[in-house]
């Protein structure tokens, strides 16, 4: 098999793969999950940039920022906001993207709230860890007798509201220890209480021996121990299905309220869903119109090579989009602009090549030679100009990544990927297709008009 045939087969396979990945119906591909991720500006949503409180004098370690990030993430997930992402950015910033959220209703406040630990009296009822409960702590709701609401046939009634005996602010010291009393040593969190809390605890546990006292964090049951005997020394343990990591994380939450470092809202950006949809549609229309004009121009001006270029550009589009879906790259408006521009760059590579080809043809070379020589001559400028573009997008990426400027970051990613694929498309696809076309023509030298001469 000649090299040309192998090239052609590689291109066809690559394109087939790219097209399969591109199809919206493809959600699984060789262990990956291709998906089109639209940025906030295209589908609406809220972006918040949180900064470590400038008044905070303590040192901020990357681990603390990371912990804060994961706490925020789990909090917002608990809110039912889907696909929320939080990312640390630089040394002092956390960027949160909350797609679909526009009527924000103090979402930020909820995210920033402290981890609310409650000791809840559930009477004789055992609650599984993870159960969501309502308490009388922050709602004016009356405590309902759990017995009444759990009568058969009445489960559809309102959720029971339990009484909060004590909250986490009465905790004095918290430590992660191993509970070695059993055969298996479990990881537990031990705590001591402030005097006031210890008194409350003593009274309650004395009066409720054999009842359950659920430990609830952010309205979710962590564990539901039974009061075996009155606890009067103001000490206790929280058991649960902990690993060392999760126990430490919870201990951090309990110790510092919620976040290991104080955060303030530095920037809020909300984009309405209609605005996003509108921008997306209009950008797509613009892209289509631009592409049709470019296609016409390439065909009229460069003829046969122009046709090869159009095929290369279409392949470039299919491959780039497939890569975006595989990574996945979040598509934003600036990202689309980046794609537009790298498309320009892809066209430039083709135009450079064709102009050189024309020069060689005018100098009287055969079409085959002109193709090879034209490529050789054009390569240095394609290489150097694209490396410069990559350098620039690298600096842009660094800038966007370090300072939470997600606009700039999105742009640089699509530009850089686009530049890579565009060079590949010109280097590989245009050339292979053009060679094939030239081979199909008998006596191409007699049809120089087909090459735009």
């Amino acid at each position: 098999m000649s090299r040309r045939t192998i090239n052609l087969i590689v291109i066809v396979i690559l394109l087939a793969v790219a097209i399969i990945v591109d199809l919206p119906s493809t959600t699984k591909f060789l262990g990956t999950e291709p998906k089109t991720v639209l940025g906030l500006d295209l589908r609406g949503g809220m972006q918040v940039i949180l900064q470590v409180d400038p008044n905070y004098t303590g040192e901020v370690t990357p681990e603390e920022l990371e912990t804060a990030k994961s706490i925020l993430e789990s909090r917002s997930n608990a809110l039912g906001v889907s696909e929320t992402t939080f990312q640390t950015s630089g040394e002092r910033y956390i960027v949160g993207d909350l797609p679909g959220v526009t009527d924000t209703e103090d979402v930020v406040d909820i995210i920033k709230q402290t981890g609310q630990l409650e000791f809840v009296d559930t009477g004789s009822e055992y609650l599984d860890p993870g159960t969501e409960v309502k308490t009388d702590l922050d709602s004016a709701a009356q405590v309902t007798d759990p017995l009444v609401t759990t009568l058969p046939g009445t489960e559809t009634q309102a959720q029971p509201v339990y009484h909060t005996v004590m909250t986490g602010d009465q905790l004095d010291q918290i430590a992660v220890t191993r509970d070695g009393q059993g055969v298996v040593s479990d990881i537990v969190i031990s705590f001591t209480l402030k005097p006031e809390g210890a008194a409350t605890f003593a009274t309650h546990t004395t009066a409720n021996v054999n009842n359950f006292l659920a430990i609830v964090l952010d309205k979710k049951v962590l564990s539901c121990p039974r009061i075996n005997s009155p606890i009067t020394e103001g000490e206790g343990i929280i058991t649960g299905d902990f690993t060392v990591e999760s126990a430490n994380a919870l201990a951090v939450q309990l110790r510092y309220g919620s976040l290991p470092i104080p955060l303030v809202v530095e920037q809020v950006r909300v984009i309405g869903p209609t605005l996003g949809q509108d921008s997306l549609n209009k950008s797509l229309v613009a892209f289509l119109i631009g592409f049709i004009i470019v296609t016409l121009f390439m065909l009229i001006y460069y003829r046969l090579p122009g046709f090869a270029a159009i095929l290369a550009i279409l392949s470039y589009g299919a491959i780039t989009f497939a890569i975006f879906r595989l990574i996945p790259v979040t598509l934003t408006l600036p990202g689309i602009a980046g794609i537009l521009l790298s498309t320009g760059s892809a066209l430039d590579a083709n135009i450079l090549l064709f102009e050189r080809m024309k020069e060689e043809l005018r100098a009287g070379r055969t079409v085959q030679d002109a193709l090879d020589l034209g490529w050789k001559r054009a390569w240095s400028s394609i290489r150097d100009s694209n490396i410069a573009a990559l350098l620039t997008s690298g600096i842009l990426y660094w800038f966007g990544n370090t300072f939470g400027a997600s606009i700039v970051k999105g742009f640089s990613i699509t530009l850089a990927l686009g530049v890579f694929v565009s060079v590949f498309a010109a280097f590989f696809i245009t050339r292979t297709v053009l060679r094939l076309l030239v081979k199909l023509i008998r006596d191409p030298e007699k049809h120089l008009g087909w090459f735009g001469i």
Binding site: D41, Q51, D106, V268, G272, P334, L347, D348, A389, F403
Partner: protein, 322 residues
């Protein structure tokens, strides 16, 4: 062959005519920085009923929460009805009734007030930005830093890529001079657009600016590449002729690539893209045009100016041979 380079001082003059007015506007009014770079808040509210509250009423709402220097703009919505209010105000982080309120909560209070005021229950927020002063000034500073680093990287890269030709570093520096020219053209445009059309310099503008720089470099390298190639082939030609020759040879490619493809795409984006992208597209359009122009009429001619050390004649001096 057309002698483009012979008219180089006319081209320099033409660029100055474009840049100087913009620079004057810039010096007097400053750059119209958006909230991204100077901090503050931008709220875009849609009133589907079309019943917009008066500017005075809006300002009063903000004043009640303790914000002054509020500007209100109306904008055309989807149905060509003026039903959008764009409100710019200082950072909405504030204290309400003794409680620290985050910008988002303050915004919600204001929107509720706007709803009550207009009697339009369908009122919704189209977009909202609130940027604290710290991050704003940081972003602006880092932007300048990013541009400076990008430029430095380009000089170094060109010097390395052109190490085979005499005075390789000149190519890098001339590319930078032409890039500064493009930046000034874009800044000029932004200043004038800000003064007359209410444009704002925001992160998108920054993206546009960095793109202009990136493509400006790409374009210069293509022209320089031809000079590099001809340097080997046409060694006996005077430098000025050689550069002129190279420019002419790449002219067709420059015109086709920049004007026909990139500009087609961007023109489509400017004409048919959403409002958000229009300013961006116009700035890119002009910036990239300038990038191509400056490769041919600034960067390459400056190489010749440097080679001939023409600055000796600039201020009434006489040629060295006199």
């Amino acid at each position: 062959m057309i002698n483009l380079l012979g008219k180089r001082y006319y081209f320099f003059l033409f660029s100055l005519l474009l840049i100087v007015p913009g620079m004057i506007v810039l010096a007097i009014y400053g750059l119209p920085l958006a909230v991204d770079f100077k901090g503050g808040s931008l709220l875009e509210v849609v009133f589907p009923s079309g019943k917009l509250p008066t500017t005075e009423d809006v300002v009063n709402i903000y004043t009640a929460y303790g914000f002054d220097t509020v500007t209100v703009q109306t904008a055309m919505g989807e149905n060509n009805v003026k039903d959008i209010l764009i409100i710019r105000s200082p950072d909405l982080t504030t204290t309400i009734n003794g409680v620290e309120s985050n910008p988002d909560a303050t915004k919600n209070l204001i929107v509720t007030d706007l709803k009550t005021l207009s009697g339009d229950s369908e009122v919704y927020v189209n977009s909202f930005q609130n940027v604290g002063p710290t991050i704003a000034s940081q972003v602006a500073n880092r932007a300048i830093l990013a541009i400076a680093i990008a430029m430095l990287a380009v000089v170094v890269y060109i010097a390395i890529a052109f190490r085979g030709v005499p005075h390789a570093i000149r190519y890098g520096i001339c590319a930078i001079i032409a890039m500064i020219h493009d930046i000034l053209i874009v800044l000029s445009l932004a200043a004038i657009g800000g003064k007359f059309f209410g444009w704002q310099v925001d992160s998108l503008f920054l993206t546009a600016m960095l793109t202009v720089i990136g493509f400006s470099v790409q374009d210069k390298i293509v022209v320089f590449d031809r000079i590099r190639e001809n340097n080997g082939v046409l060694r006996r030609l005077p430098f000025e002729k050689l550069v002129n020759h190279s420019i002419i040879q790449t002219l067709q490619r420059s015109i086709n690539t920049q004007l026909m493809t990139v500009e087609f795409m961007l023109l489509a984006l400017a004409l048919f893209g959403g409002v958000t992208l229009r300013e961006f597209a116009v700035i890119l359009l002009v910036g990239l045009l300038s990038g191509t122009y400056s490769s041919i009429f600034i960067a390459a001619p400056f190489l010749v100016v440097w080679e001939n050390k023409e600055w000796k004649n600039w201020f009434g001096g006489h040629p060295a041979e006199a």
